[in-house]
């Protein structure tokens, strides 16, 4: 049985914490518990859970204490964790086009210098990985994807930028993100994706979910602009794949 702690976050939330760091084993435990809780809720075995928020190493469980006591929720979680198995990756697989052209990648040259690689090698290393979506947070639809290869790991910039464009592809430490909206940012900008990770229109929402797998497909500036135009015209269908290593983001 995995080790875990249950910590109070006020009277309407509990944190189920499986560890302190970032690794896929912890993440899979968090996502597996999230899944179990959601099934228990659907089956009517537990009433009063309001929502859950999976993060790198813990699951936040929001509840209504007038319906479900902290003690009952705790013993329910204890039961679920006992039967928990860290499952294999169950999420969807995506292939997202990204453009690493230096005109869209203000920090690519600096990242290359600081990692003793050429810009082409940075691109090659960054796009060779199948990333795991650990969690969504910070901005609507923003997925924290890891793990960035060790040779590309850099701390955040000393001075964050006050504003970066929506779609910016960035790295910091072991994580990579596509920022869904214009925002302040202390990460290193190494490209841009034309695919909106967040769509505020009714019926739309976040493209990615925790547990998904993401591959990046490098595209030229021209392809990027074509894709961007299709997104703007609403003619680009972005769908996940059943399996990895298929062609992605087809028009």
């Amino acid at each position: 049985m995995p080790e875990y702690k249950i910590l109070p976050a006020g009277d309407t939330a509990l944190v189920v914490e499986f560890g302190e760091g970032i690794d896929r084993r912890l993440s899979r435990l968090v996502l597996a518990l999230d899944q179990c809780l959601s099934e228990a809720k659907i089956q009517g075995k537990i009433d009063g859970v309001v929502e859950t928020v999976p993060t790198f190493r813990s699951l936040m469980v929001y509840y209504d204490p007038l319906v479900l006591s902290a003690a009952s929720l705790t013993s329910c979680i204890d039961e679920l964790v006992k039967g928990l198995r860290s499952t294999e990756q169950a999420g969807r697989v995506w292939r997202l086009p990204v453009c690493y052209d230096e005109r869209l990648a203000p920090d690519l040259a600096e990242v290359a210098t600081r990692t003793n690689l050429s810009p082409a090698q940075v691109i090659e290393r960054h796009s060779a990985v199948t990333y795991h979506v650990y969690m969504l947070g910070f901005l609507p639809g923003q997925a924290y994807m890891g793990d960035v290869p060790a040779e590309l790991n850099l701390p955040r910039r000393k001075t964050p930028r006050l504003k970066i464009p929506a779609g910016s592809l960035a790295i910091a430490m072991t994580m990579t993100c596509i920022f869904p909206l214009e925002s302040p940012c202390g990460w290193h900008l190494i490209g841009r994706s034309p695919i909106p990770l967040w769509d505020g229109r009714p019926g739309a929402g976040a493209l990615l979910a925790p547990g998904d797998q993401v591959n990046f497909a490098p595209v030229s500036l021209r392809e990027y602009e074509d894709l961007l135009a299709k997104v703007a015209a609403g003619t680009l269908q972005v769908a996940p794949h059943e399996r990895a290593k298929e062609v992605g983001a087809a028009a």
């Binding site: 939330a13 928020v53 910070f138 929402g205």
Partner: protein, 350 residues
């Protein structure tokens, strides 16, 4: 022409808020909603709306609005402020009303909401509500994400806010009597989830000390000025989720209480969490107000939550006919000082 309110001046930060959009935090979407849901509910009750109907949340300085509907009923609950109704946009003086009342307005009437002088928020509800499509089940404005409300942002001059009703129901106006919007001596918190990141002396300082609401506080977080808190295990944690009322302490040792527009996740240790029953009162505190904390058990918090729900149920019984003429209120209002107490926080608990 469709019924609407036209914004002549927007005030400092006026947004549409309801009871928020829970259920989407796993996608990075904050709950948002009214900082003071009690006042929002009471404002809606005064005009006969369902409790969670979207209303204007006014911060510090109110907007000036023109009625572009046959007639509307409006209510004002929260901070004390001068509500002045003028016959048209060129008029220099009008009739003064108090907050905690409903009023009836006709096409072309101008309502000017002044500075708030004992709390940070005032809710302005309109009978029938605003004709705005909810986003993910809520009309609350989340400015940073450009989500919900009126075009995902605070009001600006020239906005035309569509209303559901072109006419107000025919009946007399009401006032709210006895709604307690005072702040507790100490806000009750439950220690954790990361209280073990702080030294014993910092924990003691946190619970015994006194803080003030700092400048830079907003709908996302309330910054506190007061005793500096030291971390014993560093000030970076692997990001985890942030509950409403979480008190996070970044590297500078200054606590921030996270409120309605809080980010869903964050990487600073959280020393304690304000209990759900005390969040509405916290949401009302203006810059400069005193804040102190006391630690309670989850059982005590649940009891307090139950009492808050009973208090909410009692709001209906506090609504009474607005007997005296408006002029009486106007003269009383002229006798009091409308300006002081906004930023010095001295009068906040009165």
């Amino acid at each position: 022409m469709n019924p609407a309110l036209r914004v002549i001046s927007p005030g400092l930060l006026t947004t549409i808020q309801d009871l928020g959009r829970p259920g989407h935090q796993h996608l990075g979407i904050p709950v948002s909603g009214a900082l003071d849901p009690i006042s929002l509910r009471a404002a809606n009750a005064l005009v006969g709306n369902a409790p969670g109907t979207g209303a204007l949340e006014v911060a510090y300085v109110g907007p000036t609005l023109v009625v572009e509907a046959d007639d509307v009923r409006m209510s004002f609950v929260g901070a004390k402020a001068a509500i002045e109704v003028l016959p048209d946009v060129t008029a220099s003086a009008g009739t003064l009303f108090e907050t905690m009342e409903s009023i009836h307005l006709r096409r072309g009437d101008v309502v000017r909401i002044g500075s708030l002088w004992d709390a940070t928020t005032l809710y302005v509800a309109v009978e029938g509500g605003f004709d705005i499509a909810p986003v993910l089940g809520s009309v609350s404005t989340y400015i940073r994400g450009h989500i919900g409300g009126w075009q995902g942002r605070a009001l600006v001059a020239g906005d035309l806010l569509p209303l559901v009703q072109n006419t107000a129901t025919v009946h007399d106006e009401f006032r709210l009597e006895g709604l307690d919007l005072s702040a507790p001596e100490r806000f009750r918190v439950i220690a954790g989830p990361q209280s073990d990141y702080f030294s014993e002396s910092s924990l003691a300082k946190f619970f015994e000390g006194e803080y003030r609401v700092g400048a830079g506080s907003d709908r996302m977080g309330m910054r506190l000025d007061g005793p500096h808190l030291d971390h014993v295990r560093g000030y970076n944690i692997t990001s985890d989720a942030i509950a409403p009322g979480s008190i996070q302490v970044p590297g500078n040792g200054k606590p921030i209480v996270l409120l309605a527009d809080r980010q869903t996740t964050g990487g600073y240790p959280k020393i304690a969490t304000v209990i759900s029953a005390d969040l509405p009162a916290l949401g009302r505190l203006p810059i400069g107000a005193k804040v102190a904390f006391e630690s309670v058990t989850i059982d005590a918090a649940v009891k307090a939550r139950r009492k808050l729900l009973a208090d909410i149920d009692a709001i209906g019984g506090m609504i009474v006919p607005r007997a005296p003429a408006a002029a009486d209120f106007a003269s009383r209002l002229h006798d009091s000082n409308l300006i002081s107490g906004i930023f010095d926080g001295q009068g906040w608990a009165a």
